[in-house]
């Protein structure tokens, strides 16, 4: 939503190293996360079910706001549509360099606290009793998630299902230890996207499919298969 607002309303970033799209998608992600966390918490603790419902509600709200922005858009409509279809065709060196420098830093921070994430698998209360500063860890990962999302969408727009299916596939093969899960997901996610991009470029050459269409075509069946197979885990 933040990125769409920047595209349509022409917001520019107050920080030189970020584009308007990346800066405002970061703010939008933070706002969405804050709302999801606010409504997903009860008696001081999160539950998976509440978080899912809260995420669904906030997602629908933001989709409506994006629809309003699309109606307001005139010459920016094409850029907006490309943004929502996702793909590398509109990527620039400016956004690519931003990703190359900042993404490894974020991934390292995520890896640094992987053990705390493992303890959090036991539930917030048990993690607290094990010595994890749960509020701090949740805040760190929320900001990291918002930041990484905003960098990624400013390079390639919205590309669905990579972030959803790759961690689940890695978890099925390598287990739930985040010290392995995080770096392997990072590498495999990138590899999967390159593969999908190659397919998108080759299959209807000389025209090109949006890469988001390819990831979803692969991603949705795999996701549904995993949903069926992983019954009983994470309360699903």
């Amino acid at each position: 939503m933040g990125a769409a607002a920047a595209l349509v309303l022409g917001f520019t970033s107050p920080l030189a190293m970020f584009t308007g799209v990346s800066f405002f998608s970061f703010l939008g992600s933070l706002l969405a996360l804050s709302l999801v966390f606010y409504f997903g918490r009860r008696d001081g603790y999160f539950s998976v079910f509440r978080l899912l419902l809260s995420g669904l509600g906030v997602g629908l709200l933001f989709s409506s706001l994006v629809a309003v922005l699309m109606i307001m858009a005139e010459e920016e409509l094409k850029a907006l549509i490309f943004f929502f279809m996702g793909g590398f065709s509109s990527a620039s060196w400016e956004t690519t360099w931003m990703a190359i420098t900042l993404v490894p830093v974020c991934v390292w921070i995520a890896f640094y606290y992987a053990r705390e994430l493992n303890v959090l698998l036991l539930g917030e209360e048990t993690a607290l009793s094990s010595g994890v500063n749960t509020r701090r860890i949740q805040a760190i990962y929320a900001i990291l998630a918002a930041f990484l999302t905003s960098i990624s969408v400013s390079v390639a727009g919205l590309i669905g299902f990579v972030g959803l299916i790759i961690p689940h596939m890695v978890r099925m093969v390598f287990g739930a230890d985040h010290r392995i899960l995080l770096p392997v997901t990072f590498l495999l996610g990138g590899t999967f996207l390159i593969l999908c991009d190659t397919i998108a470029k080759v299959v209807l050459a000389p025209s090109e499919l949006p890469v988001g269409v390819v990831t979803s075509l692969f991603g949705v069946p795999v996701f549904l298969y995993l949903l069926k197979k992983e019954r009983g885990e994470y309360g699903l």
Partner: protein
Amino acid sequence: MDRNIVLQVHNVSFAYEKALVLKNISFSVGQGDFIALVGPNGSGKTTLLKIILGTLIPREGEIRLDGKPVLSYPPKERAKKMSYVSQQPSAGFPLTVQELVSLGRYPHEERFRQAAGDTQAIEEALRLTDSLPFRERKFTALSGGEKQKVLIARALAQTSYLLLLDEPTVHLDLYFQLQILNGLKTLCSEGRSTVVAVLHDLNLVSLFADEVLLLKSGEPVAFGKVAEVMNEGSMRDAFAVEVAVSRDSQSGAVYFLPRRPHR
């Protein structure tokens, strides 16, 4: 009696919003004690455990761990002194048993490095809970009883000297109820652990607890030795149940036979 007090609960009251759920609770726990929290559903037992743990803040009163307010310890230092097994563990996570039990070592670890004694503590926790045969299996693939044993093993691997257990024998069959509580009692007798446990089975309380805190509607009915606290009258008052109390000629322990609801 000269004993080393590890936990003091001093005049604690607690309310969820406006509803007062604990009133004026005071007791102290010495090193090696096995204390049972007993009372009907909704009497505040779990809330009291969470206050001791430091995840709920009392409206009045104070919890002191080793003579210092429990909230004055940094999280990792507190976890080195006190571990917890909750009543409702998280829904499920595809970690192996060994991986899950090793999470108990978190407060002792330096980042990216195992701490001294990690392997030994994990092995002993698995052995004490009889979890060695399924150490390589996924936690999500275990039965309810096996899961409970693994969660207790994780708390034991934390090697803290105070164990807070919320219904630790739930899901366990009779054999494993006795095995787990015997193991905990041995740790207490050796002075390596102190246990504060919510227990619903009055006969297990009689067999294993040194002292009992009997709660009703958030208020303390009595605190003391099992035979002094748990009798026909107090059981009727607290649980609204007619209970026959007898004494086992072999062990001398009192045992309880519920007769009928008292209304």
